[in-house]
Amino acid sequence: MKKRGILFLVFALLLSLALVGCSGNSSTGGTKEEEDKDTGTEEGTKETEEAAGNNTLVFGRGGDSTSLDPAVTTEGEAFKVTVNLFETLINFGEQDTEIEAGLATEWKTSEDGLKHTLKLREGVKFHDGTDFNAEAVVYNFDRWKAGNAEQFYYYNSQFGDKIESVVAVDEYTVEFNLNKPIAPFFKNLAMSPFGIASPAAIEKHGDKFIENPVGTGPFVFKEWKRNDRITIEKFADYWQEGLPKLDQVIFRSIPENSARLNALASGEVDLIDGVNFSDVATIEGNPDLQVFERPTLNVAYLGLTNTRGPLQDKLVRQALNHAVDKKALIDAFYAGAADPAINPMPPVVAGYNDAVEDYPYDPEKAKELLKEAGYENGFEMELWAMPVPRPYMPDGQKVAEALQANFEAIGVKAEIVSYEWGTYLEKANNGEADSFLLGWTGDNGDADNFLYVLLDEDAIGSNNYTYYKNPEVHELLLKAQASSDQAEREELYKQAQVIIKDDAPWIPLVHSRPILAGKAGISNFKPHPTGSDLLSNVELK
């Protein structure tokens, strides 16, 4: 008799499956009153969608946040959420990185650039009901200053020891005393990591503030299910009348690009980022959907590690620059939504040097340069392909293959290599790659945030992966950092770009315009070049 057990088990499973199907349908007659509220039929999802209010926007993105406290993270995904929870003293423009009033309404700088005085907005409340005032600002800066470099990366890289003290002059006036001028001081203040948090909440939650964020932003944090979704809802006491227009925003992580587009097409999400460039035509052909282009603030490049083999020779690096057909890359992999990169920063950044000319695509010239450098018969090198897609690099493997073919044409044999992402960055940072694909999205739209961060000798070991070192460039970049005269700074950066172009530590590839897509009913969505989108004006029909 026992032996029949397994048979029954199989049947029971079959039955239960069938029952699952039936019960879902039949129980909707409404045995309980609660059920009547949400009509749970087969179309349940569709109907509840409407019942729960059209005013919920579901934003599908590639990854989950690492932290909800913007101060302790460097992850772009984290800022996408926190920009809606926290506000900064200074704001960026709607779709650019010009500075505007934020939590500070007025500001002035002393002659020597060492003292900034900011007048704060009155009547602003944190989500926990406490008041926003000068004390709160001081508290936040003291917190960042007291922490170590690992904890508050951005504070240390943007302000570091240069902020001597932050003082509350009166209830709504703060004074920043510096010991060295910081040229992009206000742009830095506008960066998401410097969102002002409620001191009371920081005291209350301590270590757990990363999952209990309290700011002054248009939305209040509601729920975080890790690796799945983050829900934020309208802040009723928000200081800007009538905003936000949405009642709720849900950030869902959907790691795979095509699956994310499928979720949009089937209506499960309303807005997605990280759209494959190759999918743009399909989306444009669908009347229910629309495409958004994010203004560029990025650069994709092939780093040529300046300390390795033939790449130590400037002529070789220039030759490789001549070998790459950027236009073909853009047509093939960016669906035209990119511009060829000439300098290491995009043209929107103040100080961009228009006079610099690109190395034209010219394999013959490339061969000549190789010959001059003594590599008439070419050489072999590794070409590292990024294993993950990024807005500036949709498909590392394919771009690497195209570059491989370009190099082959001038006699350079490139072997494509790839590692898991963490290892890739670590090894490249150690200078173990000959040539490697990488890119950068600007944090604050300042030239310093591209040139100094990516190519200064101080940045070797952090973001200068090519080990490029030129004392002349170093001097120019440091001088520009310390100057508070914007015109002078721009001139210095222009000079630096000329030298960098000649030294050719990289092959700058493209500045892409990352693609987002949403339902046709979305209005007032303005993608921001930094990648962190403020959603307070967005409406959903």
Partner: protein, 334 residues
């Protein structure tokens, strides 16, 4: 049987010890100083030294191992570097998501796989047999990534029957109690949500079930064919028993052992090997938890995640072993 169970459970002790040892050394074999990696390139020397001490990495390896083992025995799985939360605390939602999905997948794989195998054997060389076995061959070699996207395209976008991804309709979220949503929604009497959860499960569960289903079908078929040629089956048929009972009772009972073995192994694989399915269907389960931890170099999470999956794998195989004896009295363990 009882003494066998005891013996079998005791024999797990060295297996589990070995397991913990392997995982322990595997993580330490990764090049680089963990403290340095955790803190990043910019860390000061003092900070690295302090963390090294804090992590106990300055101790000899056997002390480290026993500290680690002691922690495991008291349920301490360490703390995630990324989230700074105790792993034993944060792991359950991921594990629950994976268990729910794997359970559904293995049920589908068993129900369809076993029955397809039986019928194929019953009507050997019929058109059903051919089609089923060709499908099984395709199933085994199916790229899950492609299958998942195709499922979404057909059933979610074109037919609009099922959702593409996630565990629930996020605009109408489930209140989690156990984190196994089918149970949670039933406990709360929310049949609408229960149905929603089931709909979210169907596509990923089928994608995940494809390979085990195909393997189970093929093993069932060959095992059944062998049994159905035996004398006792001929006797059963000769005495006029209905074919259905001959197949489903007499033959299956004798053919089920190898099938059970393969089910056990496949179930274990599903738990850890669901990373592709979880990625395509954005299922917040163990596969992605560990994968993200690898990307973030979150060593304690990698270590404990692998350990837990390996532990479950061992447990499932224990259950299978015990089932052998329960099902087939000819199997005697002394």
């Amino acid at each position: 049987m009882f003494s066998y169970t005891i013996k079998r459970v005791l024999s797990l002790v060295p297996v589990l010890l070995g397991l913990s040892l392997i995982v322990f050394f595997m993580i330490r074999a990764i090049p680089g100083d963990p403290a340095q990696i955790i803190l990043g390139q910019l860390a000061t020397k003092e900070a690295v030294e302090e963390l090294t001490k804090q992590l106990g990495l300055d101790q000899p390896w056997y002390i480290q191992y026993f500290t680690y083992l002691g922690g495991l025995l008291t349920g301490d799985l360490g703390e995630s570097i990324k989230t700074k939360t105790a792993i034993s605390q944060e792991i359950w939602p991921y594990l629950a998501a994976t268990i729910e999905l794997s359970f559904c997948a293995i049920v589908i794989a068993i129900v369809i796989g076993v029955n397809a195998g039986i019928i194929s054997a019953w009507y050997q060389n019929s058109w059903f047999d051919y089609i089923a076995m060709v499908l099984a061959l395709i199933g085994v070699s199916m790229p899950i990534f492609w299958l998942g996207l195709m499922e979404q395209w057909v059933f979610a976008i074109n037919l609009d029957w099922l959702p593409t991804s996630g565990r629930e309709e996020v605009r109408n979220p489930v209140t989690s109690i156990t984190n196994i949503y089918m149970i949670d929604t039933l406990l709360q009497g929310r049949m609408d949500q229960f149905w929603d959860v089931v709909k979210h499960l169907i596509l990923p569960a089928f994608a995940l079930a494809t390979i085990p289903m195909a393997i189970i079908a093929r093993i069932t078929r060959s095992s059944m064919l062998e049994v159905m040629r035996s004398d006792f089956i001929r006797t059963a048929r000769a005495k006029g028993l209905r074919m259905f009972w001959v197949v489903y009772k007499h033959s299956l009972k004798n053919a089920i052992i190898p099938v059970l073995t393969i089910i056990g192994l496949q179930t274990g694989l599903l738990l850890g090997g669901a990373i592709l399915t979880e990625t395509i269907f954005s299922w917040p389960g163990m596969g992605r938890y560990i994968y993200d931890a690898i990307n973030a170099r979150d060593y304690p999470v990698i270590q404990s995640g692998i350990l837990i999956i390996a532990f479950i794998f061992v447990m499932i195989n224990l259950v299978v072993d015990l089932l052998y004896a329960a099902i087939d009295p000819r199997i005697k363990y002394n």
